[in-house]
């Protein structure tokens, strides 16, 4: 899951050759702007067939690949 999400983030948001780790700060690090979180959320929901409530999709919860994985696992049944 980590690798899938990381690859999505790179493809979607990284326009130069910035290195990304599972712990790189995405939103506070300026890689994903808070506007574009929407597509990340929708991607996760479609990919894992889950529904993440809006109040759980916070900038903090989306701030690294690892944190996103934690969030997704909460909703995977």
């Amino acid at each position: 899951m980590q690798e899938i999400i990381k690859n999505y983030v790179i493809k979607e948001y990284v326009e130069d050759d910035t290195e990304l780790t599972y712990d790189s700060p995405l939103i506070s690090g300026g890689i994903v702007d808070s506007f574009s979180m929407v597509s990340l959320k929708r991607f996760l929901e479609n990919k894992y067939n889950i529904s993440i409530p809006d109040d759980k999709a916070t900038p903090e919860a989306f701030d690294s690949v690892n944190k996103i994985c934690t969030l997704v696992r909460e909703y995977l049944k």
Binding site: E15, D33, F35, S36, V38, S39, R42, F43
Partner: protein, 415 residues
């Protein structure tokens, strides 16, 4: 009186912080009318200096056009100075509706509604026509006023990479379950001077049943064979659902803006758009001026043709001088310097040579992409441009950047 010394101190520190970061903006006082040649007081208190202006949005040289000035005078005499009302209370004169109809015809749309500015048009339109069941998909480089409008709207928002049509298509697929999808772009992008691929965007919008929004502020009056805008240039007139544009640039340069497009959407703006409902009407002399501008531009393409020739001359001259410019064919021509300090130094030295052009750097443009944005006008004569080129050559030589590659400039000056 709660403005205590502590509060004052806090704000002073913020301002000092801006100065330390090199982000503090200072105005230059212009003592003449807006034109190719202006008289400038800079810094404040300095003697007036006559310079050639190559950074105004005065694309068609209409800002001080004698016929436009005359029409504004006549409008002032016949319709007064102001209306002291928003449009829907008692702020709509016959000339406001006339102007709306003229803009509709000029842009080839169904209907038009005036706003106090294009900033206001962009701030009001999304909220007026979309709901939380919809999605806005915007180019990542759209103008700040569009971003503000998007923020004010309850619809979902997503972005696509600048001018990347494959990415846009992915986003249209991703959001295909939404009630409405609105694709949002600038026609000509103000910082890079590149043009949106409207033909391709129309095709995608038709394929995925999406609406298309284009901000034509930097195109209305001069892009396209008869100056109608990017939609004319791309052969998709009549296919743009919402156009916003300003009367503060090519179309006269005074103020005002509009939303033009599908008549139901325009009508919804009249019912619901907050800047239309809650901000004063465009002043009568300005309306009269814009009407004259549209008359002039509809009667002849001379001015946009001249602008096109000036632009070609300017772009060719800069390239021959060995400077790096962003490719394109619009009158927005960024001269790339990459380093913020270099951009500021070059701007200052150009000013000493009698050329008024401003450096842009982060956060206005991305880090490492500092530049001098030059903007060409039909008000320029070739001798103005020759003089400006001469100044660029001289200053470029001083900093040893002529004929140098991006990497060489970065190696020497940093990003």
């Amino acid at each position: 009186m709660a403005y205590s010394n502590t509060t004052r101190g806090m704000y002073s520190d913020i301002l000092t912080g801006l100065k330390d970061a090199g982000l503090f903006k200072q105005e230059r006082f212009i003592h003449s009318a807006q034109a190719a040649e202006i008289e400038v007081e800079f810094p404040a208190g300095a003697p007036l200096k006559k310079v050639i202006n190559i950074c105004a949005n005065n694309y068609l040289g209409m800002s001080s056009h004698p016929e436009v000035v005359k029409a504004a005078h006549e409008g002032l005499d016949s319709h007064g100075y102001g209306m002291s009302s928003v449009r829907f209370i008692c702020g709509t004169q016959d000339i406001h509706r006339t102007l709306e109809q003229m803009v509709t015809k000029f842009l080839g749309t169904e209907d038009t509604i005036l706003f106090p500015s294009c900033m206001d048009a962009n701030a009001g339109v999304f909220e007026a026509v979309l709901t939380k069941d919809d999605v806005m998909i915007s180019d990542r480089l759209v103008h700040a006023s569009i971003i503000d409008g998007i923020r004010l709207c309850s619809a979902m928002h997503d972005t696509f990479k600048h001018s990347d049509m494959e990415h846009l298509e992915e986003k249209l697929q991703l959001h295909n379950d939404k009630r409405l999808k609105l694709v949002i772009t600038d026609g000509v992008f103000s910082m890079d001077g590149d043009t949106a691929k409207l033909d391709k965007m129309v095709e995608l919008c038709e394929k995925y049943d999406a609406l298309l929004f284009v901000d034509e502020s930097h195109s209305s009056g001069f892009i396209g064979k008869t100056g109608r805008g990017t939609h004319e240039h791309c052969g998709v007139m009549g296919k743009i659902d919402i156009i916003t544009t300003t009367f503060g640039k090519g179309l006269g340069g005074a103020s005002g803006g509009c939303v033009s497009g599908r008549k139901e959407l325009v009508e919804l703006c009249r019912q619901k758009a907050r800047p239309y409902l809650f901000s004063n009407t465009i002043a009568p002399p300005v309306v009269a001026g814009v009407i004259k501008v549209l008359e002039i531009l509809s009667a002849s393409t001379d001015r946009r043709d001249k602008l096109e020739n000036n632009t070609a001359f300017w772009r060719k001259g800069l390239i021959e001088a060995g400077l790096i410019i962003k490719a394109g064919d619009t009158p927005i021509v960024p001269v790339m310097l990459f380093n913020a300090k270099l951009a500021q130094d070059v701007s200052r030295d150009l000013y000493d040579e009698g050329i008024y052009a401003i450096g842009f750097f982060f956060p206005v443009v991305p880090q490492g992409q500092a530049r001098i944005r030059t903007q060409i006008s039909a008000g320029h004569e070739i001798h103005h441009l020759e003089k400006a080129l001469e100044a660029f050559r001289k200053v470029g030589k001083k900093y040893d950047i002529l004929g140098k590659s991006k990497q060489e400039i970065i190696d020497r000056y940093g990003m």
